[in-house]
């Protein structure tokens, strides 16, 4: 199978996955009792209207009285054209609320990503080339620590130590500081540490495993025999291992960061996507909950697509025929 066909196949698959996910969420929503409707019915009942009338009014206003297929069609068209529903707690379209929130997520998400990629690959390579030394064991321990520690609890412990006891950093995020101020950088230190710990750990594990495949490869032995410096040898290994290492970044690290940032934002009260979603959950704002949970899902689908394509472009040895 040619590469063009393979890429087309992957793109088609991403579209199908998106379609299935959207249909699934519609199905979930369609069979769920609506919390807002119950609230509205309660209000109407207090004003003396009957529950049936209240339900009819609510369904007519929200367009829920139509046949199921029409509602499905409307929902799908809305999702595709960017009409993601109305957030009643924020009195703005859900998509706008998301657009307002995501810069805050990026503000600490990007430094955390860069840090975890650099540190993760660095430690992984070093561990692999120094297998079974003390440094390798320390690295492995760090990896176990990173994947095992519940990041929301880790955040709370950091707040307890560095904010409550030592007073070095603030315990809550304060939006009144400007983006490029020192105060803002300072209050992002703890979230970045929490977020990058788990990501460094999994990146490091993967980088170590991939590099180990090349540590005893013939070309590495040749380099050593020619008297290449340790640094040069590491570069040889990295060149070979970089393709699989860089592809894990796209989907896996992205997914990891999304999950971690969700809880981290709640702990540190950073008004990004995670906190927006959390507040929407506590206030029963279904449209906003849907928007904020679907975005990571779509990002993951696109990330997987990019990962698949990147792999074939970067590594000519890949066989497209089999999955």
């Amino acid at each position: 199978m040619g590469m063009g066909l393979y890429v087309a196949q992957r793109v088609a698959w991403a579209l199908v996955a998106t379609f299935v996910m959207l249909s699934l969420t519609f199905g979930l929503l369609a069979v769920t009792p609506d919390a807002q409707q119950a609230q509205f019915a309660f209000q109407q009942a207090q004003e003396g209207a009957s529950a049936d009338e209240a339900r009819e009014t609510y369904q007519r206003v929200t367009g829920k009285d139509g046949p199921l297929f029409d509602r499905y069609k409307e929902y799908m068209i809305g999702m595709v054209t960017g009409d993601w529903g109305w957030s009643h707690t924020r009195s703005q379209p859900a998509i706008e609320a998301v657009a307002d929130a995501y810069p805050y997520s990026l503000m600490y998400g990007i430094p955390a990503t860069v840090l975890s990629v650099v540190a993760g690959i660095g430690i992984g390579l070093y561990s692999a080339t120094h297998q079974y030394t003390k440094a390798d064991y320390a690295g492995t321990f760090l990896a176990f620590f990173g994947v095992s520690i519940p990041n929301f609890w880790f955040g709370i412990m950091l707040i307890l130590l560095f904010a409550v006891h030592l007073g070095w950093f603030p315990s809550y995020y304060d939006t009144s500081h400007g983006v490029w101020t020192l105060a803002n950088a300072k209050q992002l230190v703890l979230p970045v540490i929490v977020l990058s710990t788990a990501a460094i750990a999994s990146q490091m594990r993967y980088a170590r495993a991939e590099s180990l495949e090349y540590v005893h490869a013939d070309f590495v032995k040749t380099a050593r025999a020619k008297g290449a410096s340790e640094w040069r040898v590491i570069r040889h290994i990295f060149r070979a291992a970089s393709v699989p290492i860089s592809t894990i970044l796209v989907a896996d690290i992205l997914g990891l960061l999304f999950v971690a940032s969700y809880l981290t934002e709640v702990v540190f009260q950073i008004p990004g996507l995670g906190l927006l979603s959390y507040r929407a959950i506590t206030q029963n704002d279904t449209a906003l909950v849907l928007a904020t949970t679907l975005i990571p899902v779509f990002v993951a689908i696109v990330g997987n697509l990019v990962q698949d394509i990147a792999y074939t472009v970067l590594d000519p040895r890949i066989d497209y025929g089999d999955r």
Binding site: T32, F152, W153, I156, V164, I281, T286, T293, V297, I301
Partner: protein
């Protein structure tokens, strides 16, 4: 595991698989009889619970979750513990492999304690109840400013309230004893980890083997579905579903189990396809064995090591996911999950530092222990995956 045939196995008289021979004469082997008996007793119990609707003699009043947990333990006994007991030689071999990893042995001991305490403890301990007089007592050997607890249970020296053995780990802002909360949290974590994993193993193995067995359309459709499950970040689906349908622990475990079997299914399928190329499968085919027989007698026992390893490594993810959801307030309000206790202590950091700290330490070590255990199992059971 028991039938993991190795070329080096001695084929002495003691090694004859009497179970298999007995069952060939139309009857059932002892273990099969015992298993069917236990399953029948279980079904009878569930039926009685449904029919009576109230407390049962001997059994108390089990919730659906308790039944599911019992089923999990039953499956674990018949598919993990008994095979190990039946084959002491292989068990010793596994144990020798496993013993080399000290961290894993310690983890196993720790998890055994957590499992025992979490399973037995909640039946003896009273449910933690609101006790306004016992709010925010510090753990024993520590002290806090006397204005943090409502009334100090220990002695007050120089305006500092000292902890007592009455509350060895202190109490939270509702006056719940932290030690009791820990034990109830162990139950929740063990139930989430074990029941959901049992669902994953059963569904994953069923889908994986039938994809390999039937091939064609079944294979294509089921593996595409697995692709989808593995692409989507399941944590966000958990959030969405638990938000929409309310967070009962029963629903959470069901959702965790039914959305996380993709990895196991894919693994089982590829293993099963690989194994079906091997000589002993060919031999069985030539001897006239049916596909289903080969699957049950030769393929599933041989992929069980891979499945157990993969399953052990999904437990930490599930426990963390439940704790995370409970931390967000999406958990079951009627249980005392560790995540919930940590969330309760979030606003008390300045005064009562122990409320968030204590359950988090246990959560961390439980997850760490499962990770160590899974890693060691992979080394001991699965010599092919050398990482």
């Amino acid at each position: 595991m028991a039938t993991d045939a190795k070329p080096s196995d001695d084929a002495s008289f003691e090694r004859v698989d009497w179970d298999a021979l007995e069952s060939e004469f139309g009857g059932l082997s002892r273990r099969q009889t015992a298993f069917l008996g236990a399953m029948a007793a279980f079904a009878l119990g569930v039926a009685a619970d449904v029919a009576v609707g109230g407390p049962l003699p001997l059994l108390g009043d089990p919730a659906p979750l308790d039944w599911l947990f019992r089923l999990t333990l039953l499956l674990g006994t018949f598919y993990v513990v008994l095979p190990l007991y039946d084959d002491p030689r292989m068990t010793r071999h596994y144990w020798r492999q496993f013993k080399r990893n000290t961290a894993a042995v310690i983890s196993l001991g720790y998890l055994a304690v957590v499992f025992a305490v979490g399973t037995v403890g909640p039946t003896f301990l009273p449910r933690p109840e609101l006790d306004l007089l016992a709010r925010r007592q510090p753990p024993v050997f520590t002290s806090v400013a006397a204005d943090v607890p409502t009334t100090c249970a220990g002695e007050v020296v120089n305006g500092m309230c000292h902890g007592t053995w009455q509350y060895p780990l202190g109490t939270n802002a509702q006056g719940h004893d932290m030690l009791h909360l820990l034990v109830f949290g162990m139950e929740v974590s063990m139930q989430v980890g074990l029941i959901a994993t049992a669902i994953i193993v059963v569904v994953g193995t069923a889908v994986g083997t039938s994809a390999a067995l039937f091939g064609g359309l079944v294979d294509e459709v089921s593996m595409r579905f697995v692709d989808l499950l593995l692409t989507v970040p399941t944590f966000f689906l958990f959030i969405l579903i638990v938000y929409l349908y309310g967070g009962s622990l029963f629903l959470m475990i069901l959702v965790f189990g039914l959305l996380s079997w993709g990895g196991v299914a894919r693994l089982v399928r590829s293993e099963a396809l690989q194994r079906s190329e091997e000589e002993y499968i060919r031999a069985a085919e030539n001897a006239g064995a049916s596909k289903a027989w080969i699957l049950r007698r030769h393929v599933i026992p041989n992929v069980s090591n891979t499945v157990i390893t993969a399953a052990t490594l999904t437990i930490p993810f599930l426990i963390l996911a439940e704790a995370g959801l409970s931390f967000l307030g999406l958990g079951d309000p009627t249980t005392f999950s560790w995540g919930q206790t940590i969330a309760d202590g979030r606003g008390e950091l300045a005064g009562a530092w122990w409320i968030s700290t204590v359950p988090g330490v246990f959560l961390f070590f439980t997850v760490l222990a499962f990770n160590f255990l899974g890693d060691a199992l992979r080394d001991a059971l699965d010599p092919r995956s050398e990482v």
